[in-house]
């Protein structure tokens, strides 16, 4: 799948869970930079991304994610 498509779909997931779109998608983006992306919403975002792409993450993979770029490549490797 195209990286740009993945990014767009992840961005849509974030908007739907967090109920705002006050963030810019780039590789260095981290949860800390996004309003409302906390431990609580994190699991909901992850679940939604899994549903969106029909994939399953392992906890170990998630623990290692450092930023949006890493998330996008992880999704790409699975989708």
């Amino acid at each position: 799948m195209e990286i740009s498509t993945i990014k767009e779909r992840i961005s849509n997931v974030l908007t739907s869970i967090l109920e705002h779109s006050n963030f810019e998608m780039h590789d260095e983006l981290t949860a800390k930079d996004v309003d409302g992306w906390d431990s609580l919403s994190h699991m909901m975002i992850i679940t939604k991304i899994e549903e969106e792409f029909g994939i399953r993450f392992k906890l170990r993979e998630l623990n290692k994610l450092k930023n949006m770029g890493a998330l996008v490549s992880l999704v790409q490797s699975k989708a």
Partner: protein, 481 residues
């Protein structure tokens, strides 16, 4: 050997002199001294379990390396499970065997069995809840490839046994402590002074605040049936303060002693009562335990239950807090304590405000009425829940509550007749005021930015209070856990 004893003074002064004058050449020589003194310290407290501590260190060290060396996923998991079984098994055996044995016996009784039974005579090794959690966290981190395993047995042994935190924490993380042991520690006067200040404040919290509260609390709880509801309610107030002053005081002393050796241990309390909701409180109370539970229990659990959305999340929180309670000891009182705290989160999860951390009175001298109201309500809730923490059993706790909320709740509390409780209230006010002023700082007695005359008059003032109101104390509440 407690920090507030002459024994400890006689122990720490020679160790410090050796550390900074004789063993200062390299990280290896410093670590050798730290290991030897830590083993002496532990043996001094209870030599019978020294073998256990050493065995735990060696086994976890070997397992860490094994996990990292193994490439195949299944085999890695086998080594991790071995580690989990070993560490959790130690805890279960030494800390919980009696509890389960009793439970098993009670079930047999229900079914009409008449098996005779004796309580198991198992003595709790000091610090076991703390050091096994530390090694558990280490193995999981290695398994998750978040850290490299330690390949230096000396360094790893200091990581496990470092004496300021062996008896009651903070529960250190490998990522925080191990790298500090890899480098030679250099002497820093400001760090040393900062450590001494933190020790002084912890000392004050323990021997002045906690011990004076204890003198009021113990007679009330030991003879609660004879007390009026109002006295019992005040008793819970003094106990909540005692518990906090005792454990935060201990933690400040432990962290301060760490600093004397140029080692930064993690913060354990961050003025928890200046919070406006329960999630915020737990972010600041016994931080080394709650972050541990967050990372190794709550996160995996909420990940497994992620398809159940908010319900999954709530279940994870409640289960995590039951475990937090149970960690304290093999008694239903702690289970109920944890369960209550877990349940208090539910409104927050529903309203989506769990992570909305509010900094109280940010940039202001005093809190707003709204903030003050929230803080007081939260404090009352925590204070009442602490009855479970203190009571000998659940029945007693409910009985205690029943007596609080009886007609005598409106009697004049007899404990306020004596001068002791009034003096203690005055001391508590001072304690709270100092913590309030320092709420945004690195610790509760961070005076480095003040002019010299304020610093020195503070030291003298605290010393005078210690002299007049300090009580000797043989133990800390958290030593039993």
């Amino acid at each position: 050997m407690v920090f507030n004893s002459f024994d400890f003074l006689a122990f720490i002064i020679p160790v410090l002199l050796l550390y900074w004058l004789v063993f200062k050449k390299s990280d290896v020589s410093q670590n050798i001294l730290l290991l030897v003194s830590s083993l002496v310290f532990y043996a001094w407290a209870d030599w019978r379990f020294l073998v256990l501590l050493i065995a735990s260190t060696l086994i976890n060290y070997a397992l860490g390396i094994k996990i990292a060396q193994t490439e195949e996923d299944k085999k890695r998991s086998v080594f991790l499970y071995l580690g989990l079984i070993f560490n959790v098994g130690l805890l279960l055996y030494f800390k919980y065997a009696n509890f389960f044995y009793q439970g098993f016996y009670d079930i047999l009784q229900v079914f009409g069995s008449s098996v005779s039974h004796n309580t198991l005579q198992i003595i709790l090794p000091l610090g076991i809840s703390f050091f096994t959690f530390q090694t558990l966290g280490y193995l999981i981190d290695v398994f998750n490839e978040e850290i490299e395993p330690s390949k230096d047995l000396l360094r790893f042994s200091v990581f496990v046994t470092f004496f300021p935190k062996i008896l009651s924490g903070p529960i250190e993380r490998a990522a925080g402590l191990l790298p500090q042991l890899e480098e030679k520690r250099t002497f820093s006067y400001p760090v040393m002074v900062d450590g001494l200040r933190q020790i002084l404040w912890g000392f004050f919290a323990k021997v002045v605040i906690a011990e004076n509260c204890a003198a009021i609390v113990n007679p009330i709880f030991n003879d609660y049936q004879a007390q009026s509801g109002s006295t019992l309610l005040l008793g819970t107030f003094f106990y909540a303060i005692q518990l906090y002053a005792d454990f935060s005081g201990y933690s400040n002393m432990a962290i301060g002693v760490g600093k004397l050796f140029g080692i930064q241990l993690m913060r354990n309390f961050s003025t928890p009562f200046f919070s406006t909701n329960i999630a915020d409180f737990w972010r600041k109370w016994h931080i080394s335990l709650t972050t541990w539970m967050m990372d190794y229990v709550f996160t995996p659990l909420s990940f497994i239950l992620r398809r159940h959305q908010k319900r999954g999340l709530m279940l994870s929180i409640v289960a995590t807090f039951i475990l937090v309670g149970f960690w304290h000891g093999a008694n239903w009182t702690f289970v109920v304590y944890g369960l209550c705290h877990g349940l208090y989160f539910i409104p927050l999860v529903y309203s989506g405000k769990m992570n909305a951390s509010e900094v109280v009175a940010e940039g202001k001298v005093l809190p707003s009425f709204k903030e003050l109201g929230k803080m007081i309500l939260l404090f009352l809730l925590i204070m009442l829940t602490d009855v479970f923490f203190r009571a000998n059993n659940v029945v007693e706790a409910f009985d205690y509550f029943g007596k609080i909320f009886s007609g005598s709740l409106f009697d004049f509390p007899s404990i306020l007749m004596g001068s002791n409780s009034l003096i203690t209230l005055g001391l508590i006010s001072l304690f709270v005021a100092v913590e309030w002023i320092h709420r945004g700082k690195k610790h509760d007695f961070e005076l480095s930015t003040y002019p010299v005359w304020i610093r020195w008059s503070s030291y003298v003032f605290i010393f005078v209070l210690l002299l007049f109101f300090g009580k000797s104390a043989e133990t800390f509440i958290y030593f039993q856990f």
